[in-house]
Symmetry: C2
Subunit: 288 residues, 2 copies
Amino acid sequence: MAEVARDIDARFDALLDVPADPRADLYRAMRHAAIGGGKRLRPLLVQATAQLFAVDRDCAGRAGLAIECIHVYSLIHDDLPAMDDDDMRHGKPAAHIAFGEATAILAGDCLHALAFDVLADPDTHADPFVRVELIADLARASGPNGMAGGQMMDLEAEKSSFDLPTVTRLQAMKTGALIAAAVEAGAILGRLPIEGRTGLRGYARDLGLAFQIADDILDVEGDQALAGKALRKDEAAGKETFLSLLGLDRAREQLRLLVDQAIAHLHAYGAEADLLRDIARFVMARDH
Amino acid sequence: MAEVARDIDARFDALLDVPADPRADLYRAMRHAAIGGGKRLRPLLVQATAQLFAVDRDCAGRAGLAIECIHVYSLIHDDLPAMDDDDMRHGKPAAHIAFGEATAILAGDCLHALAFDVLADPDTHADPFVRVELIADLARASGPNGMAGGQMMDLEAEKSSFDLPTVTRLQAMKTGALIAAAVEAGAILGRLPIEGRTGLRGYARDLGLAFQIADDILDVEGDQALAGKALRKDEAAGKETFLSLLGLDRAREQLRLLVDQAIAHLHAYGAEADLLRDIARFVMARDH
């Protein structure tokens, strides 16, 4: 995990070299949001899945960078005053606090474009078919039927009282889609045929939901300083979550069940999938 | 022009079918911003360039749709209160006025993702290399070295006093890059080798600058009702433009020169490039 985090920091550092022109603050804002924060769960999932198929580490690193570009852009936009209005992220001021709203909006938009720029580059993979599959995967996962659509449902959650199936769908889109895209990217780089992806897709789906339930539990029980962001906002906003709908005990039980299920989906793989199994256990055990 | 506009409206209508779930307003906001407005100059440029090489009209239509997704997303985000703070666009309330800021931000983000979703689809072109080239072209043109970088420079223009070379670079990025990407997309679809693109690239560069000078002139001399948006904002914001730096007479002269130059770049083409020539003349003659 620390190795992937260092690798992603180095890739962002190279990608976001600050130009000596009026765009300097735009690049500083992207660097502020992108470098030195976060667990890099998604790039780790790309590497761990790609390792099953002995994919070149640099290819997997570039695909992980692209997915992380999307993740970071979504955090910048989600933190805006008009959205979740959060002042802190990864223990630092949010981008819009440090650089102003306009620069933050543009920094998010630029990271969004850079994700596809990185994937379209022949350095990511020599075969254009692999590149275009990675792009299709990421565009679907981040658009209205994935992450951004889930974020829209999340905004509506403040006004309506969602039931468990609706919250499950919301979270499968808002956080699940990009987690699934990371696992899928590893499979695409490994040239695994669609028919062979069922186990990995099941793993990713259960992992994504487990991640969100753990996040809901941390939002209520977690340490704000460790989290580096404001906690206990869902309840204040009157949003239904897995925790509010299930209660703490059943949420914990469901989390354990999903992690077991995620690991069970990997039965066709041997020791080469131990990193994926460890990631599932980490999602349950993490404290921030 | 009217034919391409109808085609793009129909494509947006099919792409943005409103779902019966909590994302309905997100889709309504995208439709509000995307359908029934604008000159569709960029999709027209894709079609006009693709026609030189007898490209399938549907392929060119899909590539034009993707570029227009980017153009519309940029208008939604540019109109936000934190950015240019415009209430009107295409004679209608801006997306953030009609649907609120949060929905407008997400609608822009979704159109951004959909652009790459459309291009990655095999329906756009059977050859993955062509699709990935279109994607690379659009990602570069819309990111920090293109449209979004130009928008950042434009924000800085309120604080600094830019000289003519800086304003030229700003506009080449802010509006020129996407206009150039449209012409380039036609060349990519036509499988024109890079060495053969010099004339078309020269045409696109001069056309982009001409378009911006015409826009600056319209901003000062135009009819606000016809424009469907607020005019005369640059002067109020203290921004240097081609007009403020050159004066009206020299700006008009420069516009004529650029249009002549753009047309001269097409000397290798016969009557098949007449539509591109007409577009250049239209850019000079348009009243909104």
